[in-house]
């Protein structure tokens, strides 16, 4: 077996040949690229694709983002859009008030699985059931990352966390809540999808879901919801390079990729508050 010994290309400055910039370091709506999240974290990748979708749809001027509490809250003072900080788990209720008072704005929430499925499950269920024209994003990594990596209600059976070191069991901890499937059963929801950021192809697929969800809100069809499975190698006790496969092998069989519900073609369906 021969080893590949190709020359390293100097890549610390822009090329001198004629070239087109196709992707910049940070998307236009994220102010500061540097952050203190762990190596291999999926949440900055998710924040990037959400903000790129907002930028590509040219909705930045009317966007109001509402953050829950978690590691991703590091972005609440780092975006070039209006941002509100909600109490733990309450972002969808705050979004309801904002959307009803400013119906022409684009209101999106960013929550983690601990924030949404544990702390504020009723907020998102009621918001989606009422059919509020808001878009809720769930960054689901199966752990409370910010407070040490303990189990959430979305942690899958068998997953090791700080307080389920032998793996979550149904006998001891109960079964996980598969939140997107639950929301898809609600009549007020118009679009529910689940994506992931473990590969670059899944990032591209997820960005399409995010754009579709924002378009559903703009059309006033009802609640839109996109769950994004993200890696947490620190909380999962795996190497950063193994985390994408861990997500694919352990979490995806329970929280399946794909569009769960799409009523965007149903003109009779309409959201509340419009």
């Amino acid at each position: 077996m021969t080893t590949r010994s190709l020359p390293i290309i100097e890549s610390t400055s822009a090329p001198t040949q004629a070239a087109k910039l196709v992707d910049d370091f940070t998307p236009g709506l994220i102010n500061q690229g540097a952050h203190h999240l762990c190596p291999g974290c999926g949440e900055p990748i998710a924040m990037r694709l959400i903000m790129e979708a907002v930028e590509e749809l040219e909705l930045a001027q009317k966007t109001i983002a509402i953050f829950g509490i978690g590691c991703y809250t590091a972005y609440s003072n780092n975006l070039d859009v209006e941002v509100l900080q909600a109490l733990h788990g309450r972002a969808p209720s705050l979004a309801t008030g904002v959307k009803r008072s400013l119906p022409d704005s684009l209101v999106l929430t960013v929550q983690g699985d601990g924030d949404m499925v544990n702390e504020g499950l009723q907020e998102v269920l009621h918001t989606m059931a009422r059919g509020e024209s808001v878009t809720c994003f769930l960054l689901n990594n199966g752990v409370f990352g910010e407070t040490g990596g303990h189990m959430t209600a979305a942690t899958v059976l068998g997953q090791r966390t700080k307080n389920s070191l032998e793996g979550r069991t149904a006998q001891e901890h109960g079964y996980p809540i598969v939140i997107s499937d639950l929301i898809a059963r609600l009549d007020g929801a118009a679009y529910v999808a689940r994506g992931a950021v473990n590969t670059h192809t899944n990032v591209a697929r997820t960005k399409k879901m995010v754009k579709e969800a924002l378009a559903v809100q703009t059309a006033g069809l009802g609640g839109s919801f996109v769950e994004i499975l993200t890696m947490c190698p620190t909380g999962w006790f795996v190497d950063t390079l193994d985390a994408p496969d861990y997500l694919n092998d352990n979490i995806e069989p329970i929280h399946r990729f794909g569009v769960v519900l799409d009523r965007s073609d149903d003109s009779r369906h309409h959201g509340a508050g419009r």
């Binding site: 290309i9 822009a14 992707d23 950063t240 994408p244």
Partner: protein, 97 residues
Amino acid sequence: MATIRSTGTVVIDVDACKGCDLCVAACPVDVLVMTTDEVNVRGYPYPQLLPGCVGCKACSQICPDFVFQVYRFETPVEHEVSDPPPESSLESSEGVQ
């Protein structure tokens, strides 16, 4: 001598990297390698670019630390490399055996 063509390139913000390796796994043409004996100011190994980049944005889209800036050349750039490409070198080494 062999020639390898690059239709794109990346600028790497070395000091932003946290060494997670996701870009190396994502690159469809295997032109990113992590350093083995050098680290950046944070103490992490970081990616380096080899000839053959196609400017596909896989690295920049998967990178959690926004390390990459991706360009596509208007006309492809050719790199002269002294080693033959891996496939032909593998064949020649088998032929010797």
